[in-house]
């Protein structure tokens, strides 16, 4: 069975490897510091580490889509903005 029907490209493979690396990283983090670090952040939401990763990834997707729809390519600005956003989410949300 080949995977040619899935039409892989190295760019999409790298994207999914990044997502998988995030999940593996979260598993290792949980293993080192169990409990998920629940807290109530500035949005008054009760979040764990997993919630914060989800909010970061989902928000980053919309930052990139918004950038693409308004400013167009390249997306370097959106990627930097996403990293800042993810840092803020993990630090304060």
């Amino acid at each position: 069975m080949t995977l040619t029907w899935m039409a892989w490209t190295w760019q999409t493979a790298a994207f999914f490897c990044f997502i998988a690396a995030c999940l593996v990283g979260m598993v290792i983090w949980e293993w080192r510091v169990p409990g998920g670090s629940p807290r109530r952040g500035i949005l008054a939401l009760d979040t764990t580490r997993g919630d914060r990763l989800f909010i970061s990834l989902l928000g980053s997707a919309f930052i990139n889509l918004g950038w693409l729809g308004i400013a167009g390519p390249p997306l370097w600005g959106a990627i930097i903005l996403s990293l800042i956003y993810a840092f803020c989410v993990f630090r304060w949300v």
Partner: protein, 288 residues
């Protein structure tokens, strides 16, 4: 020693579910992501295009129009079905033989397949032979959902309300049934009005089931395809071309897999975002 071990092997039982979800959800989603950055003319030959299709979809008037129609449809049916469902649930008997009759009547629309619902309403609302269409025209109301966009919208919303309000009713009724009699007795002793009983006892106790109702109805109505496709086919013109109908036109009608995949991902992200926001907002107050 009744303490449970801190580490259990329960996760082993989750593996079959993970494998099943991987096959029916993750792998197709990965394929869609792969298609969204490529162009194909068939025969499994692809050309890398980068983010071109995403930009094309995001700046397309056609996509904006379909998204606007989709949001309008979902907002309208939620605004009708939720209050109506709660009102019907409140009006239903709590016990006795009529309860079973009401529950069966409420469950009936939910048992009908979606394409049958579309076909039923298609015939029911036809202006020349349908019971509804013919009656309205005999009452001198100019109604023809095959030619008038407003009539098509009214028919589409009426069909969805008919089909899915029962789900809200059953969920709300389940929530009401779980309220102990002691709450009502306490309210009676305090001389609470029917509105106060609803506002401070019934509504808070229904919050969890209404959260589920909003989420289910939002996701289902936002992804609706079969019923409007059978009823109007997206017409007249593009008046009822909702996002899912437009997506199928692009993917299967035009065989533009790249733009269709990009559109699917944007569609999926919108559903994911709105569902998360609804869930977070509606469960936050409960936990506070």
């Amino acid at each position: 020693m009744n303490e449970k071990a801190p580490y259990q092997k329960g996760w082993i039982f989750v593996i079959p579910v993970v494998a099943l979800v991987a096959f029916n959800a993750v792998i197709p989603l990965m394929t869609v992501v792969n298609y969204s950055v490529q162009e194909t003319f068939g025969n499994n030959i692809f050309f890398f295009e980068g983010i071109k299709w995403f930009q094309a979809v995001l700046t397309s008037d056609r996509f904006h129009a379909a998204l606007g129609r989709q949001l309008a449809f979902t907002a309208t049916i939620l605004a009708i079905e939720l209050p109506l469902g709660v009102a019907i649930a409140l009006a239903m008997p709590r016990k006795g033989p009529w309860l079973s009759v009401c529950l069966v009547l409420m469950a009936l629309p939910l048992l009908i397949p979606w394409n049958v619902v579309g076909a039923m309403w298609n015939i029911f609302a036809l202006p020349d032979i349908g019971l509804l269409g013919k009656t309205l025209n005999n009452l001198s109301i100019n109604y023809n959902y095959t030619q008038q966009p407003a009539a098509a919208w009214v028919t589409l919303i009426a069909m969805d309300v008919w089909h899915w309000t029962s789900l809200v009713v059953l969920l709300a009724f389940a929530g009401l049934s779980s309220i102990p009699d002691a709450y009502y007795q306490a309210a009676k002793i305090d001389g609470a009005s029917p509105y106060a009983v609803f506002r401070y006892i019934q509504l808070p106790k229904m919050r969890r089931v209404l959260t589920i109702a909003v989420l289910l109805r939002f996701m289902d109505s936002f992804m609706i395809y079969t019923e409007p496709f059978v009823l109007t086919g997206g017409g007249p013109g593009n008046a009822t071309t909702l996002l899912s109908i437009d997506l199928v036109k692009v993917a299967l009608g035009q065989f533009d897999l790249g733009p269709a995949a990009a559109m699917s991902i944007i569609y999926f992200l919108i559903v994911l975002l709105v569902s998360w926001v609804f869930y977070t907002v509606m469960t936050r107050k409960e936990e506070a």
